[in-house]
């Protein structure tokens, strides 16, 4: 019996049993759509995220830092690649996904609309932005869709070096001259709240969450992930003598967690809707690379076709 409701019940039973859903399995249209949206936006974020950090490659202050930053940004590129490939298992092409990014139909993590203004920003981004991403990605290792989960496992393995190198930059700055300490504190001041916003709206305000949780695409709620991030990061800041820009931040013994101040959701919405410093630049940069590269891709295709023809001729 192959009616849709029977299939849906079977599908949900699989999910409930913590079985993985694989590309050729039957899945509800909504599940497929939700995954394409989430996975492709995750991929876009990795690629767009190369820009604020890539911004400092040519100006890294030492050869060692330059090397580390290059390796890190290269990893982000690879992550984008893993995620695009995982998304393609759902029957969509990379060209379609890139088209959606360029048209604005698909989004990327809003955090990357902020500018990387100083070398210390590279430290803050690694420590906080990658730190937040790790908290999210660890939970996604249990996501129900097989290719997505496997991509997360691979990404998580590579991600811990990212956070560590960022934190080490901040540590070095905080042990340095007054000017360097000031750089570090300024970067923390500017990247702290946007990093908290990376986890998305409060659970109560999040429309998608319920369905996403039922299908086990999402495993842990936004607020829970955000709290986890704050709890692990506050001691890290204290350890290097930096002050988190939140007057309401304090340990709550009863809850066993840090209490923190209100997030400015107006800023979050404004930046998502195009009023961040870098929204236009990020897309323009991506489009330019894509457009400038068109002749190169045509060249690759033409050469490959030519070789295939030659192979046929010499075989025949």
């Amino acid at each position: 019996m192959n009616d849709s409701s029977g299939q849906e019940a079977q599908f949900q039973a699989k999910i409930d049993a913590e079985s993985r859903i694989e590309p050729k399995d039957w899945m509800p249209l909504g599940y497929r759509k939700q995954l394409i949206r989430q996975m492709s936006q995750h991929a876009h974020s990795e690629v767009i995220g190369m820009q604020p950090e890539g911004n400092w490659i040519t100006r890294a202050p030492t050869l060692e830092r330059k090397t580390i930053l290059l390796a890190k940004v290269q990893d982000e590129c690879g992550h984008g690649l893993y995620l695009y490939s995982a998304t393609e298992t759902l029957g969509v092409t990379r060209e379609e996904l890139v088209e959606a990014l360029h048209s604005g139909a698909a989004k990327y993590a809003s955090i990357f609309n902020y500018p990387s203004l100083t070398w210390a920003d590279i430290g803050a981004i690694g420590w906080l932005v990658d730190g937040a991403a790790i908290v999210n990605q660890i939970s996604l290792q249990q996501t129900s869709y097989g290719p997505y989960a496997r991509a997360m496992v691979r990404i998580c393995k590579e991600e811990s070096f990212h956070q560590r190198q960022g934190y080490e930059i901040m540590l070095r700055l905080s042990e340095g001259a007054e000017s360097q300490k000031a750089l570090a504190q300024d970067a923390l001041d500017r990247w702290w709240w946007p990093s908290l916003m990376m986890f998305g709206p409060h659970d109560a305000d999040s429309a998608n969450s319920a369905q996403s949780m039922q299908w086990k695409i999402k495993r842990v709620s936004n607020d829970e992930l955000r709290q986890k991030f704050i709890d692990q990061t506050v001691p890290q800041a204290e350890a290097i003598g930096l002050k988190i820009p939140d007057e309401a931040l304090r340990w709550n013994e009863a809850r066993g967690h840090y209490d923190f101040g209100p997030i400015d959701w107006d800023e979050f919405i404004a930046v998502i809707n195009g009023n961040g410093h870098c929204n236009r630049e990020r897309l323009a940069h991506h489009k330019k690379a894509h457009d400038d590269g068109a002749w190169v891709r045509e060249c690759m295709a033409a050469y490959a076709a030519r070789q295939q023809t030659e192979e046929k001729v010499s075989a025949g």
């Binding site: 820009q51 490659i57 290059l70 390796a71 590269g293 002749w295 045509e298 050469y303």
Partner: protein, 248 residues
């Protein structure tokens, strides 16, 4: 002798650093994600190579790799001019890569047997990377030459723009001649013939013309650079200039 060795190591380091810095500019700008990864791999190999050569020089001079990289002015850099030229388009970048890879494969091949153990070791390690670089760039020259009319035209333009910078690669000054006499440094002149043969063969396979030897520019080893280097260094050195003498 020691001074000559230091000068030589710094020269090879400068080549690698300046060239690596240039290729790094492709990060997030490449035609595909896969190509972006490949280009950054090449960059990392070159920066790594530079660091090895600076470290060797440092063992004699006491100057750190970052002192070499971030505090010298343009007139004190001794890299080949071809390394400091802007990337231009993808064809220019890969054609330059290819021309350099053919030379590096030959050069490092000989340097791997240097009577100086450290240089030999650095060369052996670098040669493995270069073997891969050459495989890649060789394929790209074929692709560009035989791909589309546009890729072919861009490759021709690149060859014409770069050709006059290649004689400098094979020039020997007193320092290198002295080191070559000790079997420390390769004789570049001896590499020119094989290089020209290899390049000619590849260009012919790719359907690309070998440019005429109608012009040439040199001066890098004497610190007489193109106007491009100053801007490259201004960008590369900005942090150390703004915040001198600190740890990062």
């Amino acid at each position: 002798m020691q001074q000559a060795l230091v000068t030589y190591a710094v020269r090879l380091a400068d080549d690698a650093l300046i060239y690596g810095q240039r290729v790094s500019e492709w990060c997030s700008n490449a035609p595909t994600l896969e190509e972006d990864l490949a280009l950054v791999n090449v960059t990392l190999d070159y920066i790594g190579r530079a660091r090895m050569f600076y470290e060797y020089a440092s063992s004699y001079s006491g100057l750190s790799e970052d002192t070499y990289a971030f505090t010298r002015d343009g007139r004190d850099f001794t890299n080949l001019l071809i390394c400091e030229l802007p990337n231009g388009d993808f064809a220019n970048t890969l054609v330059r890569q290819y021309l350099l890879d053919e030379y590096e494969a030959l050069f490092l091949g000989v340097l791997s047997s240097s009577s100086d153990d450290t240089l030999a070791l650095i060369a052996q390690k670098s040669l493995k990377e270069t073997t891969y670089h050459l495989r890649r760039s060789h394929e790209w020259v074929l692709r560009l030459g035989m791909g589309t009319d546009e890729s072919h035209a861009r490759a021709c333009t690149a060859l014409d723009a770069l050709w006059g910078y290649t004689p400098e690669i094979f020039a020997m000054d007193d320092i290198e001649s002295g080191l070559a006499a000790e079997n420390i440094a390769p004789d570049r002149l001896a590499l020119l013939g094989p290089w020209r043969e290899n390049v000619a063969r590849t260009l012919q396979s790719a359907g690309l013309p070998v440019p005429a030897d109608s012009w040439q520019v040199e001066g890098g080893r004497r610190g007489i650079h193109t106007e491009h280097l100053g801007h490259l260094l201004a960008e590369m050195q900005v942090m150390q200039r703004t915040y001198p003498g600190l740890q990062w």
